[in-house]
Amino acid sequence: MEQTTLVGSVDPEILDAVGKRADEIAQGARINGKLAALLALGSIPIALGAISKDVYGQTPSDVLDVLQFALLLEHLEADFYTRGVAATGMIPAGVQTVFTTIRNHENEHVTALQSIISAKGATPVARPAFDFTAKGNLAGFTFGASQYLTFLALAQAFEDTGVRAYKGQAGRLINDKAVLNAALAIHSVEARHASQIRRLRGGKGWISGNSRGDLPAFTQGVYDGEDVVLQAGITITSLPDAGSNGGVTGATEAWDEPLTKAQVTAIVTPFLP
């Protein structure tokens, strides 16, 4: 609970809501919203943590948690592509632009998230020393000149994970529109990257079922749950014309699915020191 830093952790919209109630109680007393909120807080301090979590669902501490989590993932991608682009002879000449583009984006995502986190008064999480052999799952992977296909496979796993990770956290940002916008603007760029990488590997730009394709088995968590066909209570495969529009495959491709923070953490853990 956030009792010790209660006011600082309460969302402005909650303050407004509480303020309105206090205003009604004050019956015309000229109090500004924030003061009214403080007064109201004095009367219901224990309950507020519960209100902000359970009723409103999202608090500024949620937002910071999401930002730090996103930053960790962006660090992973930025470091990965920075090393890849720097590696001598690994990336074929014809696709250098693709990877320098992605590298630049990921580095700029890192910078942007760091700025937002700092602006909110927190210290951005530092870049860990990543292990791109994934604890030996990719033993011998060193961004070597002959290892482009491994690099490409990892890139797909990272991008598809990134898309699902942002999607899974968006709800926690619903009360902070500026951060929500930033996350969404990154989320769709990650999806563009994913599409490009998948197509460079000879696949489709979108995810069919829960298939990891030819990626190594330890990456299956990236695709688990991508095979659902139930969306907002509607079974897509039962819709009119579903049969003539790709059937189950089309229905799973047409929607990307979220991952929880725990699921993403499990995927990323092998790459952490």
Partner: protein
């Protein structure tokens, strides 16, 4: 006769709504009686699925009322998905006479599937109370021409991405936010694939560090170019929080 509604086509906008003769016959069946203006049957033909003889914005008004909250955002998405689904359906239907490559046809066929499913999803979500059917028109597009098709596809996909990104801030229910998020990333995957078909292995697939976040009114104005009905937004939110590109 007094129980039978009488349908009078009294203005050109109403003429523009039915897409083809079959639709008009359906309308007649529903309406029971119909008064035709002389130009009506020349304005559409049995085979005319291009909508090319109707002008964008010349039809009846379809209003998306933001006083409805999240429903309005879903309606807004539904409008865009109708546009995309109709477009790709026409693209696929024209494969027999177009110069698209085999690879391009495979990509466009997949996208057509996805967009039709998105459209049918929103139709089911919104139901008859909040749903509406738009008539699309593509007067300046040559469905036989690869560049015309791919450039339009790119425009539609990029518009879709920035539209979803820009409308998300008006969603109040996290479940609806997630529903939109599940679709927007697929639109972004489409956008990248189409862009790369046009300009392979350049930065075209993801030209900016952040995608745009664009307000609904701007999107509606852009979409209007492909819609016969007049698209109107009512009670549009006065406030708009800009995205990282600060251009919405």
């Amino acid at each position: 006769m007094s129980d039978t509604p009488k349908m009078i086509i009294s203005d050109s906008g109403m003429l523009n709504s039915p897409r083809n003769r079959r639709d008009i016959l359906k309308l007649m069946a529903a309406g029971g009686a119909m008064v035709f203006l002389p130009s009506m049957l020349t304005a559409c033909s049995e085979e005319d699925d291009s909508g090319g003889l109707t002008n964008p914005g010349s039809g009846t008004t379809v209003t998306i009322d933001f006083a409805k909250g999240d429903i309005a955002v879903l309606q807004f998405a539904y409008a865009l998905e109708q546009l995309e689904a109709d477009f790709y359906t026409r693209v696929v239907n024209a494969f027999g006479s177009s110069n698209l490559s085999t690879t391009e046809r495979a990509v466009l066929t997949d996208i057509k599937y996805h967009e039709v499913l998105h459209r049918e999803f929103f139709k089911a979500v919104l139901g008859s109370t909040n749903g509406f059917t738009l008539t699309t028109t593509y007067p300046n597009i040559n469905f036989n021409d690869r560049l015309s098709v791919l450039n339009t596809a790119k425009l539609l996909e990029d518009t879709g991405v920035k539209a979803y990104n820009g409308a998300a801030q008006y969603i109040t229910d996290v479940n609806n936010l997630l529903a939109a998020g599940k679709i927007v990333s697929v639109e972004a995957r489409h956008a990248a694939a189409i862009a790369d078909l046009l300009s392979p292995n350049t930065n075209a697939f993801a030209p900016t560090t952040f995608d745009d976040v664009t307000r609904p009114a701007t999107i509606a104005a852009a979409a209007q170019g492909f819609v016969v009905q007049k698209l109107a937004l009512a009670n549009g939110p006065a406030s708009f929080v800009q995205g990282p590109n600060n251009n919405g």
